[in-house]
């Protein structure tokens, strides 16, 4: 192919520069900071070796946060990976009319700020005056103060996040599923294979490359998206019951100014993500079906 290497690097240079300054350098610097005790203001950083990592392992809050993170992951996978996958399947192969309309309409909330989403749901689910509470009262049910209820709070914050992320995941999964030949599905239908078997035995394996991508994005991006409702609605409360691994780093870094500790926590989170990704790849690599 034409062109020389120097010119190619010239084309990539602007992007590379931005990534170097705001992605690769900070990544390394966070690793460096994780070995120091510092508060972003003091002129001298005190070297503490593995001290922050040991402190992190000994802090009971770490395990609360990791447990919450796991709960978020499970809920987000159900709502933002499994549910849009099934919806994409229904739209592609089960119904015949209105496909384009549904695609546009389901994607719509994806373009709206999560702060808007948070404020809308705070009001809709307001336990006293919100629309849901009014309907529930009609049936004699009272809505708990969810933002202050352990366990419940993670569910509601996940739903707020789902409202935004669902549409995007759905569209990408829909694209992955269109790679499955229509004839295969029609043949299965003629043989009276039940819909759930068509989904599990044919569609899922044949669109697994996209499926794995959304699976990973749901975990990695999902936990970052949840940050916004946590920050604006609960600030991690009540009693850290809604904090996750992402929010905790913010809390330690920017409200408590434990810069070194926050850095160590960020690195541990990233390592956990990488391990998760590698495990996922190893697990699915064999059965994966690449569309082309």
């Amino acid at each position: 192919m034409s062109g020389n290497a120097l010119l190619a690097y010239g084309f990539i240079l602007p992007s590379l520069l931005v990534f170097a300054v705001f992605m690769f350098y900070p990544l390394l610097y966070t690793v460096y900071l994780s070995f120091f005790e510092w508060n972003m203001i003091k002129p001298v950083k005190a070297f503490v070796g593995w001290g922050n990592y040991i402190a992190l392992l000994q802090d009971p809050l770490t395990y609360v946060v990791l447990k919450n993170t796991f709960a978020y992951i499970v809920i987000l996978l159900l709502l933002n990976c499994a549910a849009p996958y099934i919806l994409a399947f229904i739209l592609s192969f089960v119904i015949r009319r209105g496909r384009d309309f549904y695609k546009s309409a389901f994607f719509l909330p994806s373009v709206i700020s999560l702060v808007v989403g948070s404020i809308l749901y705070l009001w809709i689910l307001n336990p006293i005056s919100g629309p849901v509470a009014i309907i529930a009262k009609f049936f004699g049910i009272t809505i708990p103060v969810w933002s202050k209820t352990q366990g419940l709070v993670i569910g509601v914050l996940s739903i707020i996040t789902t409202w935004k992320v669902f549409g995007y995941n759905f569209i990408v999964l829909f694209g992955g599923i269109t790679g499955v030949p229509q004839e295969v599905i029609e043949a299965a239908k003629i043989d009276n294979v039940p819909l759930h078997r068509i989904f599990l035995d044919i569609v899922l394996p044949m669109s697994s490359a996209t499926g794995v991508y959304i699976f990973i994005m749901t975990i990695v991006q999902g936990l970052q998206y949840v940050f916004t409702p946590i920050k604006v609605v609960t600030q991690g409360g009540p009693d850290n019951a809604s904090s996750n691994a992402i929010y905790n780093v913010y809390q330690e870094g920017f409200t408590l100014y434990h810069t070194g500790y926050a850095s160590a926590f960020a690195i541990v989170t990233m390592v956990l993500f990488v391990v998760l990704l590698l495990a996922e790849f190893k697990y699915v690599e064999k059965g994966i079906y690449y569309e082309n």
């Binding site: 990539i12 966070t30 119904i95 373009v111 702060v115 404020i119 920050k231």
Partner: protein
């Protein structure tokens, strides 16, 4: 009465859709109601006594014109820079062969999976040292390039036959000229929808501005909206709804105009090769 299977599915899908779209309709409707009406009749989608009082009140309480201008400047700068840098990089990855190409591409794309917590502390320090804290330039700087953009534009460029580029090379056309006058026009839908998504995402960006911006005059819209959140939902929620509408109106309009492009770009962005 028997309902056929297709209709049953449409009822189910319609219900799901209502759940996701009704909140938006409620927000718009209640932003035009007086507080008393909103409390007495939350569910009506058409205000009995429509008023723009909530909007006027918001503008008197906050420098909302300035805040909207800030948001626009940030989103526009991010969009222009990201689109240009992504298109340049994508072009190199598709039409040049050079040492380390695949490794470099892999490294750039993997950054999509790096959580922002890993970079936010050093980036905050960098922006502070440059003197851009509490300044929208500090918000813009880390948003000058985008891995997802490189990925999406590269995917689109790969659909252009290489022979077309080779023919232009034989005619002595420079690479920048080929990119601008042959490649970009051919993949216009992908570039436009990627650009629109850059704009919308930057418009909605919350995490980074909240770290950098301190004074209300420098705020972007999501930060202004956050001022109206109290954990109980707030007593003056009609005002909060007005700010919500101001925050979401631009992304919504852009989406409604470009939805065909956007949907088709993301539908074809499934992992392929």
């Amino acid at each position: 009465m028997r309902i056929d299977r297709e209709a049953q599915w449409h009822i189910l899908l319609g219900g799901a859709l209502l759940l996701s779209l009704l909140p938006i309709a409620f927000a718009i409707a209640n932003s035009f109601k007086e507080l008393s009406e909103a409390y007495n009749n939350v569910f009506s989608l058409i205000p009995e006594h429509p008023t723009i009082g909530n909007y006027l009140l918001v503008f008197s309480r906050l420098p909302l014109g300035q805040i909207t201008a800030n948001t626009f400047m940030v989103a526009l700068a991010a969009t222009v820079f990201k689109t240009v840098t992504s298109a340049l990089a994508a072009y190199a990855f598709v039409y040049f062969d050079f040492r380390g190409k695949n490794v470099l591409y892999f490294i750039l794309i993997s950054t999509i999976f790096i959580p922002f917590t890993v970079t936010m502390i050093p980036n905050y320090l960098t922006i502070s040292q440059l003197g851009f804290r509490n300044n929208i330039i500090g918000v813009i700087l880390p948003q000058l390039s985008d891995a997802t953009g490189i990925f999406l534009i590269r995917q689109a460029m790969r659909t252009i036959p290489r022979s077309l580029i080779e023919a232009a090379r034989i005619e002595q056309a420079g690479h920048l000229k080929i990119l601008a006058s042959i490649v970009l026009p051919l993949i216009r839908p992908a570039v436009v929808s990627t650009g629109i998504m850059f704009f919308i995402n930057s418009w909605n960006e919350y995490v980074w501005p909240v770290l950098i911006l301190k004074d209300k005059v420098n705020y972007t819209l999501p930060l202004a909206l956050q001022l109206f959140i109290s954990s109980e939902g707030g007593t003056d929620f009609t005002i909060a709804m007005a700010v919500s509408v101001i925050t979401m109106i631009i992304p919504l309009v852009l989406y409604l105009i470009f939805q065909r492009y956007i949907i088709s770009t993301f539908t074809s962005s499934g992992v392929k090769g």
